[in-house]
Structure formats: C-alpha cells, structure tokens
C-alpha cells in the first residue's frame, strides 16, 4: 500500500533538490560570496553602534566617578544594553539569513540596523528616565 501510493514528498523527491526548485525560491544551502560581503559591510555599521554604546558606558561612568557618585544599577544595565543590542541583533540577522540570497540578506540587515537604532533610542530614553540630569564635566 505504501509503495503503491508514496507520500507527497517521496513522489516529487527526485525533482525537489534540482536547480529549478532553488530558482523558484527554495532556500539555498549556505550563504553565497555576495552574502558574506553584505554581512561584513553591515558588521562595520553594527560595530559603530556598539562602539557608541561602549563610549557612552565609559564616558558616563567617568562622569559619575568624577563626582564620586555610584551609578544606579538600572542605568548601568541600560548602558550595557546599548552595547549588547547591536551584537545580539547582528547575530540574529546573521543566523536568520544564512539560507537567503544576498539581496534578501541586505534587506534584513538594513531592517536589523533600523531596529538597533530603535532599541538604542528606547534604552537612551530609559536611561534618561533613571538619571534625569546631566553631570557637568
């Protein structure tokens, strides 16, 4: 019975791994060379965001140390989040686009970059709500 009526996957199994199937949108096996170039270019942009977060953490920590005041734990968490957000989003996008073409990957990296911007502004707003003043240097 099973051999007479094979399941759907088995019936078209011989044709599915062929090239036309991939051309019609089936995910490819791994990232192409162009896809890696896109990933590296966006790595620099995401790294800029992470660097900005790092400079915020160092600069604001120095400001608090200058007036001899301990920074609130929540504020430290938001500043660490500013560094972590680009790295986490980049990792998620890199993993999510591993079987996508270079063009689709570029779009997703762009959206991820915008999401990093949104999360950064959210965390900065959260920091301002925790520390609603600017320490004069």
């Amino acid at each position: 019975m099973t051999s007479a009526h094979p399941p759907a996957g088995a019936a078209s199994g011989a044709a599915s791994p062929s090239t036309p199937a991939r051309a019609s949108g089936t995910p490819r096996r791994s990232r192409s060379r162009a896809g890696w170039i896109v990933a590296v270019v966006f790595a620099f942009l995401y790294a800029l965001d992470a660097f900005q977060g790092l400079s915020n953490l160092i600069g604001l920590g120095d400001s608090f140390r200058a007036v001899d005041v301990a920074m609130p734990g929540n504020a430290v968490a938001t500043l660490i989040g500013l560094i972590a957000a680009p790295l986490i989003v980049y990792g998620l996008v890199l993993w999510g686009t591993r079987r996508r073409g270079a063009g689709a990957a570029m779009l997703v990296f762009l959206v991820g970059f915008a999401v990093v911007a949104v999360v950064t502004l959210d965390l900065q707003s959260l920091y301002r709500s925790i520390v609603p003043f600017i320490i004069p240097v």
Binding site: D49, L110, V118, T120
Partner: protein, 218 residues
C-alpha cells in the same frame, strides 16, 4: 460469450459487478451520469473491460462447463491444447499485471498533478478579505509609529558633529524609517509565506518598534 437480456438484471452497477466498467469521473460530465449512455453497452465485453476480481461462482461455472471448442480440442489433442491454453492464461495474467501497474502509475500521476495544482493555486491565491484588512490595520499602526518617531526626532535635536553625533543622528533617522522598512520587508520577503506567518512577523514589529521615547516623554 453471448450477452443475454437477463444479464441486465444482474448488473448492480458497483465494483463487484462483473459488467462494471471503471471510468474516470473526470471523463464523464453530468449529462453522461444522468443518461443511461450506451458506453456501458459498448464496453461491457469482458475482453475490453478492465481486470476485476472474478466472483467465485463465475470461476466455478467456467471450470464446470468448458467452452465447446475447448471440449472438442480436449478429445483430439489434449496436451497441446492444454499447453496453448496455459500460455494464453499466462499472457492474460501478464497483461492484467501490466494494466494494474499502468493504472497505479496513472493514479499517482493524477494525484501528483492535483497536488501541484493545489500548491500553485495556494501560491497565487488572491489575499483574503481578512488578510487584507489585517495588513491594512498593521500598516496604519506602523504609520502611527513613524509619526511617533518623527515627533521624538523633532523633540530631541542632536548636534551632528563628531562620530558620536553622526551616529546618533543616523539612528534618529533610521528610527523614523524603521516601521516602514519592517512593514515593506516583511511583505516582500514573506510574499510566499502563509498569511498568519506574515501577520506574526508584523505583530513582532509592532512590539519591537514601539516609540517608547514618544510615549514616556523622556
């Protein structure tokens, strides 16, 4: 074998009927089904009809009362006639097997064609009204988010000097564009996905892209 009018009384029209002719439903339209078309009459001979399980009573009749020609042959040259008969039976069995395999292949091809057609229809099916309304609602929410991020940008102007200023300014602009980007890219890359999958991704975007600075005022 001659067909007698009494045979009609024995034809009950299902698959156990020896005179039943299997026809693909697609080959018959409603008129054919309504009228008692002579198709059955034409193809009711056992030579043309597809192989069907012969009822035990028919087999017994055949064994009990052989054809007159066969009976005559049995009296004259029994071994030769018997040998020819066996070979003919074997050929018939072989044809029977071949027909069954061909039918199975045809059925499988038909099923595969039906599946391909269903897949193609699912891919190119127009968006349902509910899906269209849902996408419209999400589009409206993302439009509001864009306004929210724009207001935030106007409220908190940044000095675009130095690397930190440039990055901060770029982030402000990207935050304004983020809802539109998310919406477009979700619909673009998810065009071949099912509608609930796309709606799930749009819902994730509604949570992630919330203009928190606009809502809290900080």
């Amino acid at each position: 074998m001659a067909r007698e009018p009494d045979d009609d009384a024995l034809s009950w029209g299902d698959e156990n009927d020896p005179t039943y002719v299997a026809a693909h439903p697609a080959a018959l339209d409603e008129d054919d089904l309504e009228e008692d078309v002579p198709v059955v009459e034409v193809f009711s001979s056992s030579a043309v009809a597809p192989p069907l399980p012969v009822p035990p009573s028919a087999e017994a009749d055949a064994a009990r009362a052989p054809e007159p020609a066969q009976a005559a042959a049995a009296t004259s040259g029994a071994p030769v006639a018997a040998g020819v008969d066996t070979a003919a039976d074997r050929d018939r069995d072989h044809d029977h097997d071949r027909d069954t395999v061909a039918e199975r292949d045809a059925d499988r091809d038909l099923a595969a064609a039906d599946r391909d057609l269903a897949d193609a229809e699912a891919e190119t099916a127009p968006l349902s009204s509910a899906g269209l309304i849902a996408f419209g609602v999400f589009g409206g929410i993302f439009l509001l988010y864009t306004v929210g991020w724009l207001v935030t940008y106007i409220r908190n102007p940044t000095d675009p000097s130095g690397l930190a200023g440039i990055v901060q300014n770029a982030q402000n602009v990207l935050a304004i564009a983020a809802p539109a980007l998310w919406f477009i890219v979700t619909l673009l890359l998810g065009a071949r996905r099912r509608v609930p999958v796309r709606i799930t991704w749009l819902a994730i975007g509604v949570v992630v892209l919330l203009p928190w600075p606009f809502l809290t005022g900080y």
